[in-house]
Point group: C2
Chain length 111, copies 2
Amino acid sequence: MMRELKWSPAEKKAAKGAFDLAYERELRAVRLEVEAMLQRGKDDQVVWEVENYLRKKRREMDEKYDYRYSVLMMVFLRLLHEGWLAEEDLAGLSADKLEWIKRSGRIFGGN
Amino acid sequence: MMRELKWSPAEKKAAKGAFDLAYERELRAVRLEVEAMLQRGKDDQVVWEVENYLRKKRREMDEKYDYRYSVLMMVFLRLLHEGWLAEEDLAGLSADKLEWIKRSGRIFGGN
C-alpha cells in the first residue's frame, strides 16, 4: 500500500501541519528537560550531561523527522507511538491513510 | 628552560590547585552562559545553539586542560591570558617559574 499513496494538496497541508506540530512538541520537551537537568544539577559538570543529551536528541530528531512522502506514514506512526501526535492531529488525512494508521497502530501495540 | 623544570611535591600540589580552580571557574562560566542562552531564547530552537556551544566548549576545554608537566606552564600562561587564573593563584610555584610567567605574559601582551 505504501508506495501507491497519493497526497492531495489539502492532505499535504494537513500532513505538514501535523509534522511541524510534533516537532515543536518534542523540541519543547527537549528544552524543558535541559532546563530541569540544569536545575537539578548542583555540580557544574551537569553541562556535559546536557551536551550528551542534546547530541543524542539532535541525532535522533534529525533521523526521525523525515518529510519525504515515501516514508511519511511510517514517521506518523512513530510519532503517534511516541506520543508526539494524537490521532486527531491527523484528521486531515484521507480515510484510507487513517484506516492504515489505526490498523498499524494496533499491530504495534500502541495507538 | 621548559624541559628542565623540576616540580617539588608542594609545587605539584599548588599547580594542581590552580589548574582545578581555573577549570571550575571556566565550567561555571559555561553553565551561566547556557542558562543565559536559554533565558534569552524565546524560540525552542535555542537548544541547538546550546548544543553547538557546548560541543565547541567541550572540545576546547578537553584540549586546553592538559595536566602533563611538560606543557603545564604553557597551560598556565593561556589560563592567565584568558582570565581564568590570576598571578596570585600561582603563588605556590617556584620563583623561576613565576618569573618566566611574568616575562612571557608581557611578551604575549596579556598578564
